[in-house]
């Protein structure tokens, strides 16, 4: 099922299939190692429209709500 990162449940796994948004967003995420085809786990979200924390490999990364909205994942 296709979902964006904010719609994922806590501790749910997903595979990134698309990053919506311009060059700046894609490059910024790329520099953090977040890219298409990467499997991540959503660890938590702070309040309703707060930052989302994900686990990507060994690193935990916090992403702002608006950037999280742009990351589209495939979940089982």
């Amino acid at each position: 099922m296709k979902k964006d990162l904010t719609q994922l449940e806590q501790n749910q796994k997903g595979k990134i299939i698309e990053i919506l948004g311009g060059n700046t967003v894609v490059k910024k995420l790329d520099s953090l190692g977040i890219r298409v085809n990467l499997e991540i786990i959503k660890l938590s979200a702070i309040s309703k429209k707060g930052p989302v924390i994900i686990q990507a490999g060994n690193a935990q990364i916090a992403l702002g709500y608006n950037i999280a909205k742009k990351i589209i994942l495939e979940t089982n």
Binding site: T24, K27, K28, D30, S31, L32, G33, R35, G57, N58, A59
Partner: protein
Amino acid sequence: MKKILLFGNPNTGKSVLFSRLTGVNVIISNYPGTTVEFTKGYLKFENQVYEVIDVPGTYTLEPTTKAEEVAVKMLEESIHLLNTNSHAIIINLIDATNLERNLNLTLQLISKKVPLIVALNFWDEVKHKGISIDYQKLEEILGVPVVPICARSGEGIKELIKKLNHAKISNLSFNIDQKWKKIGEIIESIQKVTH
């Protein structure tokens, strides 16, 4: 005077290493993004004085924040220095517990054709986490000296200083669009995780 630039991702201990090398006290905190402006210090080794520069942490050479802009500008200045036959060395500090993200910057530095030394920091933490990294193989693959260090305890700093004169321009070639694939290949061949 030779210039040494400390490059690396945020929160990889560049400032700690800087203090170790020069004895200059800089603000060190346990969160990323502490160094926004750069700091200079001097290191004397075998009658040669080196100017060491602590560069703000950057994830990429395509700047997205103020600190990254400073870092990229300093890299460009050192490339300019190299073109005028001056000496500049770049020490790329890597968080060895998080190779994938850190090698991204390493590959970008390699593609800029600058004399490079790679320092694998947090070497004590790597052992704790049950990760084993074949750094000699990494040295072979990258074609530049790789030194495991622990900046906090000072382990490996001597070896790093001894290798300063061995800094090399890597001739590793790869397609920048497929850097993640390349990084994946490198990690697969050098890193083993046991629990």
